[in-house]
Symmetry: D2
Subunit: 311 residues, 4 copies
Amino acid sequence: MKRLLTFSQELLDRAVELGRKYTRYGEVADYIPELKKQNFQNVALAVIQNGEALYAGEVDTPFSIQSIVKVILYALALENYTVDELKRNVGLKPSAKPFNSVIELELSKKNVPVNPFINAGAIVTVALLHEIYQEKTMGVILNYVSKFLGRDVTYSQDIFMSERVSSFANRTLTYLMLTKGILPKDLEVEEVLDVYFKSCSIMVTCKDLAHMSYVLSNKGVNPDGTRVIDEDIARVLRTLMATCGTYDYAGDFAVRVGIPAKSGVGGGIVTASLDGYGLAVYSPGLDSHGNSYSGVRMLEFLSRELGLNIY
Amino acid sequence: MKRLLTFSQELLDRAVELGRKYTRYGEVADYIPELKKQNFQNVALAVIQNGEALYAGEVDTPFSIQSIVKVILYALALENYTVDELKRNVGLKPSAKPFNSVIELELSKKNVPVNPFINAGAIVTVALLHEIYQEKTMGVILNYVSKFLGRDVTYSQDIFMSERVSSFANRTLTYLMLTKGILPKDLEVEEVLDVYFKSCSIMVTCKDLAHMSYVLSNKGVNPDGTRVIDEDIARVLRTLMATCGTYDYAGDFAVRVGIPAKSGVGGGIVTASLDGYGLAVYSPGLDSHGNSYSGVRMLEFLSRELGLNIY
Amino acid sequence: MKRLLTFSQELLDRAVELGRKYTRYGEVADYIPELKKQNFQNVALAVIQNGEALYAGEVDTPFSIQSIVKVILYALALENYTVDELKRNVGLKPSAKPFNSVIELELSKKNVPVNPFINAGAIVTVALLHEIYQEKTMGVILNYVSKFLGRDVTYSQDIFMSERVSSFANRTLTYLMLTKGILPKDLEVEEVLDVYFKSCSIMVTCKDLAHMSYVLSNKGVNPDGTRVIDEDIARVLRTLMATCGTYDYAGDFAVRVGIPAKSGVGGGIVTASLDGYGLAVYSPGLDSHGNSYSGVRMLEFLSRELGLNIY
Amino acid sequence: MKRLLTFSQELLDRAVELGRKYTRYGEVADYIPELKKQNFQNVALAVIQNGEALYAGEVDTPFSIQSIVKVILYALALENYTVDELKRNVGLKPSAKPFNSVIELELSKKNVPVNPFINAGAIVTVALLHEIYQEKTMGVILNYVSKFLGRDVTYSQDIFMSERVSSFANRTLTYLMLTKGILPKDLEVEEVLDVYFKSCSIMVTCKDLAHMSYVLSNKGVNPDGTRVIDEDIARVLRTLMATCGTYDYAGDFAVRVGIPAKSGVGGGIVTASLDGYGLAVYSPGLDSHGNSYSGVRMLEFLSRELGLNIY
C-alpha cells in the first residue's frame, strides 16, 4: 500500500491556500481570445474517495475542457478500434516537443502524429470518429463526454467561435497531414475542425473532472457502480496520461508529482491512477508548457503529503 | 494490491519458453562489431522476491550492460547534484526520437539533451562526473556499479575497443554539444568518451540485473538490508525508467508492459517498481528500437499473468 | 563577346528533335489533376532575336504558367516596394530544399520565406499585393501579366478549380505563416489563395514566354520599344532567376546550362540574360525537381552550341 | 558589352576610402582565436586588367585564405573526377543555411553535403583528395594553390593549431558524415582534418587573390599565358562562386553586387567573371554571414560604377 493517508478537508484547504499563492506566476492562455476572460485568481480542488466528495475553492466555476477532452476522444476511438489499429494513424510516443509542433510532425516516422494527446493526434482521432459517425459526430461526443463527467454537458458557442478564428496552428497541422496522406484527401476539413474546436469548448467544472478522474481510476466504473468504459480502455488512457498527459512537461511532471494526469489550457488537470480516488484541480494561469501553474503545485503538494506517487 | 500472484518457477519457465520462440525475430546489434558475436538464442529471466531468487534460461551468460549503465551514471550524478541542478545540463523529457538522434539535440530547447537515457544525455552525465572525479572517474563508476549489481564487475576490453572505433554517432553528439557550449570547451574529449565506452562495456549477467532491479524496487536497499542509494534517488530513477527507459518505444512499452524498465543493446532489460520484486530479462536479439525482442515479449507475458502493470 | 553564333531555324529544329527524344523520361505533374491531361509529347521552342521570331514545335499549344508567374508577381511587388522593404517579408536566398518545403520555412530565419520563387514566398507576395489592390488584385495581375506576355491573357477556370481543391501543401504553408505572424492575422486567406491559384492557372504558349524572356533580357523593354518594367526591376528578376529559378535544381542548372531561367510545373521555362535575345521552351514532362525534362535538355544543348552560358 | 568603364587608380582609391568607413561595422572572426589578432582597420583592393596591376590599401598584408581555398580544393578534385562523379559525394545546390549547419546536412538528400563551399562539402572534398594522394595530400594542395596564386605559399602553423583546437563544428560534421556513411568508415579522421585546417591556414595577400581571380576569369590561364586549369573547370568554379560563394548571403550578394565571388572568414573575397579582369578585396571585419563587411561594400561600389554586374 503506497498511500500513507486519506484526503481530508483540512489538507484540501491547505492545498488551495498554497495554490492561491502561485496564481500570480501563471499566465492565462491568450492565443484564444475568449480564454483571456477567465479570472486568474480562481483555484479549485475536488476529490472523490470511498464514495464521498471533498471540495475546496471554486469547484463550481465553469471553464472549457480543452485538451482534457483528448483523453475522451481517444477513448471513443478505442470503442471502435484496437490500440494496434489506431497506431497506424496515431502513435503512443511521448514527445519532447510542444503540443502544436510542426517539426515533430514533419520529422515523425511516416509523419504519423506521435500520440493522441498532441493537437495533430487529436485531430486525426476526430477525423476517424467523423468517418464513423458523420454528421452525428458532435452529438456522439457530447453524449460520451457526459458519461465521463457524470452530467450532461455542452460546449460554449463563444469559445468555439474564438477557437475557430484563431487556430492557425491547428489548420497548419491539418493541412500538413492532408499533404502527407495521413488524413484522407476527401476529408471534410471544416466539419472535422469544427468538431475538434467544439469538443475543446465543452464547459466543465472541477467537480466534473473529479468525476472523470474517479471513472478512470476505478477501471472505468462510475461512483454509482455503472460501467462507463471497458477496463482495458481505462488502463490505456491512464498510461497515456502518465507518459504524454502534460505535454512536453510530462517527464518533469512524473518526477515531481508522479500521478498520471491530463491538463488543458482552460486550467483544469484531471488525474488517474490505480489507487482508486478521483482527483482534479483547476486554476487558469498556465506555465510555459500550457499546464495550470497552481494546479501542478497543488498536485505536487498532495502527492508528497499523501504518498500518491505511483513510481 | 495490484499483483495477483507471485512469481513461480513454472511461470518463469513458460516465459523463457515463449521468449525462445521470438529469438528469431530480433537482430543482434551490429553497429558494434563485438556485439555481433553474441548467441542470439540466449534467453534468460531472473527474479528476486521475498529474499528468494528464481532463475530460468542462461542467467549466468555474461553480456555488456550498455545503456542500462545510464541509470547508474545518472544515479552517481544525483549523489553530487540535485535533479534541478542537473536539469541545467540534461532534461527529464521523454522523446519520440531514437537514442542517437542528432536532430533531437539540435532542435532541443537550449540544445540540452532531453534526458539522461539518450546517448547525448549520458555523455553529458559522464562529463559532469569527470569534472568531479577526474582520472579516478572510471574507478568510481566501477565501484558504484558493483554496489548496484551486488558483486564486483569490470568492463570488457574487447567491447570497449570495439565501441571506441565504431562510435561515430557518439562523437557527432559530443562535438555538437561542444559546438553549442553544452559541454565545456576544455573538455578532455577522449578521456570522457573512453569512460563512457568503458561504462557501456561493463560485463553483467541476468542475475546481476535482477539484483539491480531489486535495489531500485526496494527504495535503494539491498536484499541484505544495506542501503545502496537514497530513497529519493531510487524514485527518480524508477520514474525516468518509466518515461524514457526503452528509447522511443517507451510509450508503447508502458501500454504493453506497464513496468518501468531500462534496456540496453547488449540484450538486457532491468525493471523497477514500487512492488518490491527484482526482475530482469536477457536476450541479445533486438527490435528496431534497440530493445531485446524476446525480452519485451517475456515482460509483457509476465505483466499480464501477474498483473504487474503499474498504470 | 560570349555568344558564338546566332539562333537559326535549323538549330531550333535540332533542339526540338533532341527534346522529343527525352519526353519519355519526364513525368507530367499529377498532384494537380487537371495538369495530367497535357500531352507529354508536346515540345516547343521559341526565340526572339533582332526583332525577329523563330519557332519550332508546338509553340501555340496553351498550358498553364504555374510558377513562372512568380517572377511577374514579384515584379508587381517591386513596383510598390523596394527590394529591401520586401526583404522584411521574403528573402533573396536560394534554397537546397523543394519548393513546398515546410521544414525550410519552419527553420528559416525569423520564419520568413527564403525567396519569392518558392511557394511560401509567392503566397506572401500575393498577400502584399492583396493588401494594396484588395478585390481588384486579380484584375491588376492579369493586366500586368498581359504586358509581360505581349497579349491579353486569362486563367483557366478548370485548372484553377483543380489547384484549389488539391493544394494542401500551399494551405499548410499559409497557415504556418499565419501561426508565425509572417502573414497578418486578419488575412483573407481564401481570397489570397484564390488569387494565387488563379495566377498559376493563367494560360500561356511558348510564344508568350519568349516575349516575356525578351522583355526581361532587354532591360524591361518590349520588342516594339515600349517599356514594360523598370530596368532595375528587370535586373533583380534576372538575378533571382539565376539563383532560385529552377527550385532546388538551380545550382545544377547553373552548371549545366548557365542561363538565368524560371520554370513552372506546367512545362514551360523562360530564360533571361543580358545578351538580349528572348528564349523559352515548353514540354510538360517534368524531372524530379519539377522542371521540364526535355526543356532543360534543349536549353543545355542551345547553351553549349551557342555559348549562351553567362558564367 | 556590359562594362562601362575600366578600373582606374582613382576609382580604387575611392573604393578603399569607402571601405575604410565601413570597417567599424564588421566583426573580426573570433571562433578561431588566432584570427582575432588581425587589424580590423586593414582594407585592400587589387585589380589586374589588360596585363596591368592596380592596387589600393594594404595589398601586401598577409591573412589566411580560409574558405576561399574551397574553390581550389574542388578544382583539384575536378582534376581527378568529373562533376557528375563528384555529385555522388557533394552536391551543387546553393543553401539558405549557414556554412556549418548540422541541420542542413542531416536533412539533405542522402545526407550528401549540398555543395563543396560549405564546410561539410569541403571536408568531403579533402577526404577524396586524401584517398588519392595519401600522405602527400598537403604537399599536392600547397603546390596547386601556389599555381593559382602565382607564387609559392605556405600555411601558418599558429593559425593551423588554432583552427585545430577550436573546430568543434567541423568535427561534428565529419563524424555525422561518418555516421551516415558519406565518409568511409576507415577514414583517417585526424589526417584529413589536419589537411583541411592547414589548407584554410594558407597565408595570402590581396595581390595573390587578384592573381587567382585573373586565372578564374581568363578561363584558367595565367597573366603570363600559361594554363593553370582547364577551361571547363574554371567555368564550373565561377558558376559555384555565383550560386554558393558567399554562404547564405549568396542570393543577396548576387542582387547587390552581381559578380561571382568567394569569401573567407580571413577577410578576403576573390571574384571571377567572363569579363576577364582580376579583382580581389580584403578587410578582416565580417558581417553576420561571415563575409568581409567592407569588402562587400567595395565590390558593390565598383559593380555599380563600372557595370560589372553579370545579370
